[in-house]
Every structure is written in structure tokens, then in C-alpha cells.
Amino acid sequence: MDNVTVATHPHTHETAVAAEHQHVALPQHRHHFETEEQQREAGTFGMWLFLLTEIMFFGGLFFAYLLYRNWYNPAFVVSSNQLSIPLGAANTAILIASGFFMALGVWAAEVRKKGLLLLFLVLTTVFGLAFLGIKAVEYHEKWEKHHIPGASFDVSQFINPQAYGLKEKPLAPDMAQKTQVFFFLYFAMTGMHAFHMIIGIVLLFWLMWRANRGEFSSGYVAPIENFGLYWHFVDIVWIFLFPLLYLINRHPV
């Protein structure tokens, strides 16, 4: 071990080499890892592999969107215009803020400030819930406008937009039917995203409970860090969903 670099982590090389088996500095250290450093890196790597599966999971939906957007472009343009950009943009900002507080939470855990960590976790949760609240408002609006695919779906407003006060070009009846495909995908993608948010918020409450007991205030930050990765990944999905669903081709060509 002549080439040891200076470790930023307090319990690593020197102690580990001296007595790696006896040395257990933290109660969270598991016996089958030789060092905490190894455990931490294994955790991060494992989390990233899990996020790979999430990329591919959403990847299937994104591909379906890409395909049908190109197949039924007029219908997708018109239906996309039915979404509210202010609500979507507000939600984007809210979610980014939530992610920002999560990142600060990781920092607070790393510098072992229990109070700050709790505060940031609460803020993360509040902004996450706000996102879901606005999403619920949007879903409700879809319900009122008969944009929920299924029996109550109403294509007449796309066939004859003027009668409904929409500034859109009328669609041929068969193309107007394809607006339903847009809303299938809208609900599938945002719904899957919201589902991930809900799971995340449940986990956040669990982490807050643990943080309150002081579990993350003595150098053991892996759960916070890895949950942060998950939460940021959910952000990234929305960062792509927002322009794809709300913004592109805002102007009918």
C-alpha cells in the first residue's frame, strides 16, 4: 500500500490495512465487505445498475411515443396543444427544486448536520407532493374535457374544433381518433412517472424517520445518497417528458 492517496473518507485505508477484520467503525458496516469504502461503492454501483433497468423500463414507453408521434403527427400536435404549458412549466420548476433540496440533503448528511438533513428531506417531500398535486389538477382537467381514453373519450372537439372554441385545424375523423393514442401515452408515461414519485415519497418518509433517529449523522450516508440517485432519475424522466408531451410542435405546421 505504498501508493495510498489521501482519503477523504475518514475510515478507510490506514485503519483498514492494519486490521480489516476487527475494524468495524459503524454499526451499519456489514461483515462481508472488507471496508466501508467498499460497501459504499458497491451500494452506489448497485443503485446505478437499478437505474439502468429504469432507463430501459421508460425506454419502451419513449419509443412507443416516438413511433406514434411520427405516424399520427397531426393528431399528436392537436392533442399536445390541449395540455397546459403554465402548469407543466410550473411543475418542472417544482420538481427541479425538489431535486435541488434532495442534493442539498445529501450534502447535509455528508457534513453530518442532522437538522439540515431533516429540513432538506422535508422540503424535498413538500415539493414532491406539490408536483403530484398539480398533476392531479391536470388529470382532473382532462376528465372534464373528456380527454381520458376510453368510453368517455370525445373526438368531436378535434373534428370540429371551432364549435368548442379551439383554435386548431379540424382533423379528419380517422386522424381525430388517433388523438386517443396521444392520451394513452400521456397517461401511461405521466402515470408511470407519478407512480415512481409516490414510491419515492413513501421512501422519503421512511428516510426522515431514520434521519430523525440520527442514523445518517455519523458518516453513514449511503441510503440518502442512493435514494438521491433514484429521486434525480425521476426528475430526469420528467425533464424529457415535459418537452415531449407539452412543448414540441406547439405550432401546427
Binding site: 472488507e34 467498499q38 458497491a42 448497485g46 433497468t53 423500463f57 412507443a64 376510453g150 381518433q177 401511461a188
Partner: protein, 556 residues
């Protein structure tokens, strides 16, 4: 290698004793098994579970062959027959083949082979076993409630619009099993990257670890695509979204693309770990280092990589673009290259080796022949013109059974026999197991060789009745299935017997070089008393001989 390096150097097993403390008797009681974090115990739980499902799947295979004994539809109705082959496929693929080698042998051996105490995430490993069972119970529920008749492929729009069977239940089961598989793969990748013992470099790892590593990559990257596809199928069935429904503007071929994006790599998830077993077995029983170790290691990774580029060869007759089909056909031929590299290297490993014919080796020879036939017929099917004639006939059934049963199942049995002494501390009965290996080989060929001819003559798959002229070959096939059934029952019986009455194996009955053979059998819960420091290549029989000689000197 001189002649003295043969298996004749076996240690004297009469003096071997079972160690006092092992992972099996470390803790007592059922709960200590159900809440264990020990990778070896989880492997044993998996072994019992997949054996259970294997015999369920096998029972359906038996019923299928029984119906096909006669040309008339006399045993069951058409619908029931459809349910039989669907359940056979779902159980065998998702509940047996995908977890077979990784979840049992891989779980047990990978941490020991790379010299660590456990997998990186023991709790996730246990979770994966529970998910396996929850998924398995959903599948069984679909069966008990009245079955599902989509085939294992859940083809739309059949599965979404035209069936009144329990598609959603079965799809939920497969969805959950998928996560079990993802967690196993994730655990392996992290363990192999992060937990190797000092000195255990990538190119000192046994090839079993390499091939499981490659399969794990496929599990992690492929399975979620199947998950989302099944979610969409479920949503389409339950609430009528139309992503795959042409009447609503969807494209059923999109389902095929997404489904086969997982399910083609899944074929490699199934076969790659088996190839790892074969590398170990062939090297041990020829007393030679695997020829072209690096090539074999990289060919596993190459198979995994190419596996993602070929899926549309399952769709040549479904109306995909001709140009695209051409590209996929050419890429399909490419996959044959790394597979062939493996076969050639195993053959060269055998060359001038001191070969002995223990049971695992017999299964490995079975694998070599049958997998080669299975692989070569795959090239037939990958060729665009031939595929149109052969696909959806018994030719394709025979092809993938040669790869999956002749290849993978043979490899699995080779592995189970090979590591049985390590897992249980006891030997299986040698002559009986040789009989089982030969029976399996004969039964297998009798079952599936006639199906190549049937398929070539044009008998379509998935029908419960057929024209009179196909009967002779079908009778042969059913007879073979009976022999095959006996061949699979035998190991179940004698392996169970050997748990109590088998000869005590000792630490290294095969004089193999892997780290797993240098520790006691069955191993301690923590595997190693102290973490080993690895200073030799894998399959270094001279190192082993040197080490054994030193031990003798010390004792003597």
C-alpha cells in the same frame, strides 16, 4: 501434462469426514432458512424451488406429447391443449431456465469462486427468491383458475382482445419474476466488480464467473423492457388503452419488437451460464487449462452484446420491413461466431487432455453435441429464405429444445452433479448417475430429432391434431419423451438418496482448481476462514499439484 495428472490422483475418500460446522447446520429451524442472507442457503432454496417448477413444466410437456401420440384430437380439446403448451412454456422459461444456473449454482459459487464471503447485497438476494415465489404463485394461480392460452409469448392482439383466459394473472407473474431475475443479475455484477479477493484479477476468474457476468448484463438491461411491455399488455386488456391495438391506431408489431428485445437476449441469459458450467467441467475432467481462456471469456461478453442486435429474426414472417429483416439476418449470423469460438475452444481443451468420464463430463459431452446441432439449426432459421419455410413448424421447436434442453438442461445437470459434493458434502452414486446421463441423452435425441424432420415436412407447431402421415415420427418423439422423463426422475431420486447415504466427498473430490474446491465441503457460512490471496491463474493444475504435494509433506 503427463499421465500422472489424471483423476487417478483422487484423494482417499474413505478417510474423509464431514466437517462439524457448515452453512447447513450453522443455524437450525425453518425460519433460519427463510430469513437467511447466506448466498449458499438461498441457492439451495432456489434449487428446491426450480426443481419443483421444472417437474410442473415437465408434466405439461408429458401431456403435450401424450396428446400428440395420435393424429386425432382424442385426449384433450384444442383449448386445453393450448393451455398445456402455454403453461409448459411460461413455467419452463421464466421459472426454470432463466433462474436455473445463475440463481442456484451461480448464487452458490460466484462469491466462493472470487473469494468473498457473500454476494454484495444479501437481503436483495433473499428478496429475489421471494419475488420468484410470488411470481411463481401468480403463474400457478393462472393455472388453477383455468389456465392461460396465449403461448409464452403473450402475442397481441390475441392476448389483449381475443382470449377469456387468465392472461393478466400470468403476465403479472412473469412481471414479478422479471424483477427477481433483475435483482440476481444486479447482485452478480456488483459482486464481481467490487468483491473480488486480493489478487483475483479479471483474467484469473473462472470462466463460470465470466459467463454469469455476461448473462447478468442481459438480465439488467433486457428484463425491464419485458416488464414495460407486459404492463402495456395488462393495461390494454384491463382499461383498453390501444398502444398495440390496430383498431385504435396501435401497432401489434411494436409489441413484438419490445417483447423480443428482451426475449431474444433472454435466450442468452439462459444459455450463457450453462456455457460457464461446461468450461469448468471440461477443464477439470481433461486436467487442462481451458484452451484460449481469454477468447472464451470475451466470447461470453460478445454474445451478450450481439444478443441485443438480432431480436427481429423472430419476426421475419410478421411483416417487418424486408430491408430491416436483411440487416437482422446478417447480424444473426454474427452471433454464431462467438458461440463457435466457445465450441472450438472446448474441443481444443479436450485435445491431448487426460480425459476421464465422470457423470458431469458425460453431460458436458451431451451439451457439446446437442448445443452444436441446436446452434447450427439456428443459423438455418436466421437465413431469411429458410426461415419462411421452417418457422412456426416443429423444426423451430426442435431447434430451441436442442439449445435449451439439450444445451442448457444438460449443462445444469452437469453443474449440479459436478458441485453436488461441494453443496452437500456427499457424493452421488456414480454408476446410477452415468446411467441417467446416458438415458437423458438417448431420450432427448429420440424426442427431438424426429421433430426436425416433422418440421421440415411442414408440421406446424401449436396444434393438437395433425395429418395421419406424421404419426410415426410423433410416436417416436413421444416414446423419447418417456425415456427423457425417466432420465430426469433418476437424478431427483438418487440425489435425494445421496443426501443421507452418499459417500462423504471430502474437500476436493475432483482435484479441481477453483477456490471453491480449496475449502471444506459443505462450506462454512462465511466461506473462508480468512480471505484468500490469489496468486495463480484459473485452471492451473500445476499450482494445485504443488499445493497438494506441500500439504502431504506437512501432514506426513
Amino acid at each position: 501434462m503427463s499421465a500422472t495428472h489424471t483423476i487417478l490422483n483422487l484423494p482417499d475418500q474413505r478417510t474423509a469426514t464431514l466437517p462439524k460446522r457448515t452453512y447447513i447446520n450453522n443455524e437450525d429451524g425453518l425460519l433460519s432458512w427463510l430469513f437467511t442472507g447466506d448466498h449458499k442457503r438461498i441457492a439451495m432454496l432456489y434449487l428446491i424451488s426450480i426443481t419443483f417448477f421444472f417437474f410442473i413444466g415437465g408434466a405439461f410437456a408429458g401431456l403435450i406429447r401424450l396428446e400428440l401420440l395420435t393424429p386425432q384430437p382424442d385426449l384433450v380439446a384444442a383449448d386445453t391443449y393450448n393451455k398445456f403448451f402455454s403453461m409448459h412454456g411460461i413455467v419452463m422459461i421464466f421459472l426454470f431456465l432463466v433462474p436455473s444456473v445463475p440463481a442456484t449454482l451461480g448464487n452458490f459459487l460466484i462469491p466462493i469462486m472470487i473469494g468473498t464471503k457473500d454476494l454484495a447485497f444479501p437481503k436483495i438476494n433473499l428478496l429475489s427468491w421471494y419475488l420468484y415465489w410470488i411470481g411463481g404463485l401468480f403463474t400457478l394461480a393462472a393455472l388453477v383458475l383455468g389456465g392461460v392460452d396465449t403461448g409464452w409469448t403473450f402475442t397481441t392482439p390475441l392476448s389483449t382482445h381475443y382470449l377469456n383466459t387468465h392472461v393478466v394473472t400470468a403476465a403479472t407473474g412473469v412481471f414479478i419474476i422479471g424483477f427477481s431475475s433483475i435483482f440476481t443479475g444486479l447482485n452478480f455484477i456488483v459482486t464481481i466488480h467490487r468483491m473480488r479477493a486480493p489478487g483475483m484479477t479479471w483474467f484469473r476468474m473462472p470462466l463460470f464467473c465470466w459467463s454469469n457476468y455476461a448473462a447478468s448484463i442481459l438480465m439488467v438491461l433486457g428484463t425491464p423492457v419485458l416488464a414495460i411491455t407486459l404492463v402495456l399488455v395488462g393495461l390494454e386488456r384491463l382499461v383498453g388503452i390501444g398502444v398495440f391495438d390496430p383498431t385504435k391506431g396501435g401497432d401489434p408489431l411494436l409489441f413484438q419488437h419490445l417483447f423480443w428485445f428482451y426475449s431474444h437476449p433472454a435466450v442468452y441469459i439462459m444459455i450463457l451460464p450453462g456455457m460457464g458450467v461446461i468450461s469448468e467441467v471440461i477443464s477439470t475432467f481433461s486436467r487442462k487449462r481451458v484452451f484460449g481462456y481469454t477468447a472464451v471469456a470475451f466470447s461470453s461478453v460478445a454474445i451478450a452484446l450481439f444478443g441485443f442486435f438480432v431480436w427481429a429474426h423472430h419476426m421475419f414472417i410478421m411483416g417487418v420491413s424486408n430491408y430491416s429483416a436483411l440487416v437482422f439476418s446478417l447480424l444473426t449470423m454474427l452471433v454464431a461466431v462467438p458461440s463457435a469460438i466457445k465450441i472450438f475452444n472446448w474441443a481444443f481443451t479436450l485435445q491431448k487432455g487426460s480425459i476421464t468420464f465422470e457423470t458431469p463430463m458425460l453431460y458436458a459431452f451431451g451439451f457439446l453435441g446437442l448445443f452444436t446441432i441446436g446452434g447450427m439449426t439456428g443459423v438455418f432459421l436466421g437465413a431469411l429464405g429458410m426461415d419462411i419455410h421452417l418457422t412456426e413448424t416443429y423444426f423451430i421447436v426442435a431447434h430451441f429444445h436442442f439449445v435449451m434442453v439439450g444445451g442448457m438442461l444438460m449443462a445444469f445437470l452437469a453443474g449440479v452433479h459436478f458441485w453436488w459434493p461441494k453443496m452437500t458434502g456427499r457424493m452421488y452414486p456414480e454408476s446410477l448417475s452415468k446411467l441417467a446421463a446416458v438415458t437423458t441423452f438417448i431420450g432427448f435425441n429420440l424426442t427431438f430429432l424426429p421433430q426436425f424432420i416433422l418440421g421440415y415436412l411442414g408440421m406446424p407447431r401449436r396444434y393438437h391434431a395433425y395429418p395421419q402421415e406424421f404419426q410415426v415420427l410423433n410416436v417416436l418423439s413421444t416414446a423419447g419423451a418417456t425415456v427423457l422423463g425417466v432420465g430426469y426422475m433418476l437424478p431427483l431420486l438418487y440425489l435425494a438418496w445421496s443426501l443421507k447415504y452418499g459417500a462423504i466427498a471430502g474437500n476436493n473430490p475432483w482435484q479441481a482448481t477453483g477456490l471453491e474446491w480449496q475449502i471444506q465441503s459443505p462450506p462454512l457460512t462465511e466461506n473462508f476462514i480468512e480471505i484468500p490471496i490469489v496468486d495463480h491463474e484459473a485452471y492451473d493444475y500445476e499450482w494445485l499439484e504443488h499445493k497438494t504435494a506441500q500439504e502431504v509433506t506437512t501432514v506426513g
